[in-house]
Symmetry: C2
């Protein structure tokens, strides 16, 4: 099954005419992950017909307002919808207390459980794992602690080629062993190498979400062969001094990370409101990494 | 100078397709007052080209999320704009602490001063006064403490008729006395009654903002002769049981308050998202109070 990424907001700290604050929804086979939740995220989820109630986890890169101020309204709306399903929120330490105090003041009573998981910025960490996938937090560089996120599908089992199975009357108990990579040995002792009797392994999908951050050389290696990398590109080359002083990236730096990562595709966003047309940010990035796309609110990517 | 009221959000607890959460901006001769600040208020201020930086006071009726969750983003944006001007926030006790803890977590440093004024729900209170106007808080009835607000222009000084002044060579020191209502006595002892030598008194403008509330009989008397009354009208007659159980008003009840108040005009809003067309709410209200208007986001009223 393809994964789907929905861009809900693509502006930086301030909202712009057609760009709202940071938020993206990743839909995998069995999850709806929300990355960041700027003010108005619940409106954008509604506007772009996203399955707001199915979101099972929220990953917050850092605690700046443009990435988190939508959480109070979203939780309040869940409470009005009488949501039952547990929600997990990955955020930096201290955020759970803030959320609880806001909900208490606003008399929001949630019947669903909210599980808070504290992020840790001292290295790459596996923060979620199930049968389908793994999620890692990866420290980035900004004015406050920030973690990027890396979602990685688990290496899938190999499928036994149907024609081979039909021809050789493979006993039932052998299937699992072959799927896990073993060679098949028939009653006569003939060995059939695994690669020959199974279909080529389906590649594990990978998605990375990196914002807000200054360019961190070498960080691409942490997300090698990522299918889709979303990397902030607040500034263009002309304002690269602002990128330094404000600890953000230029679109070219985003492209450098994508190249390092050997990514298949780079998405750039979190654009400064000074730019009304961001095509040139895409062009500047493309000189370093060809398959770059500047995102817009409501954009969807299947991969 | 006319006052201007800008409707920023007209939905109830949940946002609807064309209606955002509660917020209204009242512009008087010398003030920009924001009433309520639901999530997305800063977007609506921007969308409707309101002078966001000129807002000097924010009046929050109560602490339910759809009336307050926009405050964090607005303050954060003010901080990014490097606002200098002091901001006063009128809210129920406890809110100052919540705002401070959210701003601290989000690393929002405000250089401008925020003055919090605690509302008190045990009776009508004068909460603001200057040369131009008075603002009163008036307790309403809801599931949590709620105050409505009543803004009242001060009774204005009478103006001496120019033709009379020209004709009678009135000494300078007499002007102030006449403006305050005294009769003029000339050198011969002739008395000129104040009403004859001054222009008719300009009527003091009045605005009331009542939401969220169940119908409170008699409350109209607190805002007598109000020019514009905004009163919540979450439900229609058909759902008057919901109005009782959820402590909201029907549009007819809003009209009853307007009639009691001898209001000039009634605005209704805070509509339940179950209604896509709210014309019938206006019609139901009009049977009790003719000059009723159902508001919409972006609507402006001059009075």
């Amino acid at each position: 099954m393809k994964w789907n990424l929905k861009i809900l907001g693509s502006s930086s700290a301030l909202p712009a005419d057609n760009r709202m604050l940071s938020a993206q929804l990743l839909t995998t086979s069995s999850h709806h992950f929300l990355f960041d939740c700027g003010e108005g995220t619940q409106f954008q989820l509604r506007r772009f017909k996203a399955p707001v109630n199915k979101i099972d986890s929220i990953f917050l890169t850092h605690l700046h307002g443009d990435h988190i101020f939508g959480i109070f309204g979203l939780l309040s709306t869940y409470s009005l919808y009488r949501r039952q399903k547990r929600l997990t929120i990955y955020a930096h330490p201290g955020f759970a207390r803030v959320v609880k105090s806001v909900l208490r003041a606003a008399s929001v009573r949630t019947v669903f459980r909210i599980k808070f998981v504290n992020l840790n910025c001292d290295g790459k960490r596996l923060i979620f794992e199930d049968d389908e996938l793994e999620v890692y937090s990866i420290p980035l560089e900004h004015s406050v602690p920030v973690c990027g996120f890396f979602v990685k599908e688990k290496v899938l089992l190999r499928n036994v080629r149907k024609d081979f199975a039909r021809e050789h009357y493979i006993p039932f108990y052998w299937f699992d062993k072959i799927k896990r990579g073993e060679d098949f040995v028939d009653e006569d002792g003939t060995v059939y190498p695994n690669e020959e009797i199974t279909l080529p392994e389906k590649e594990a999908k990978k998605f990375a979400y990196f914002t807000d951050t200054f360019y961190v050389p070498g960080i691409g290696k942490e997300i090698e062969n990522v299918d889709v990398l979303y990397h902030e590109a607040t500034f263009g080359l002309e304002h690269s001094d602002d990128a330094v002083s404000k600890l953000h990236s230029t679109s070219r730096q985003a492209a450098m990370v994508a190249r390092e990562a050997n990514a298949k595709r780079l998405l750039i966003g979190h654009f400064s409101t000074r730019y009304t047309d961001v095509k040139f940010l895409e062009e500047e990035a493309k000189k370093v990494f060809k398959n770059t796309t500047a995102v817009y609110d409501g954009m969807e990517i299947d991969f």
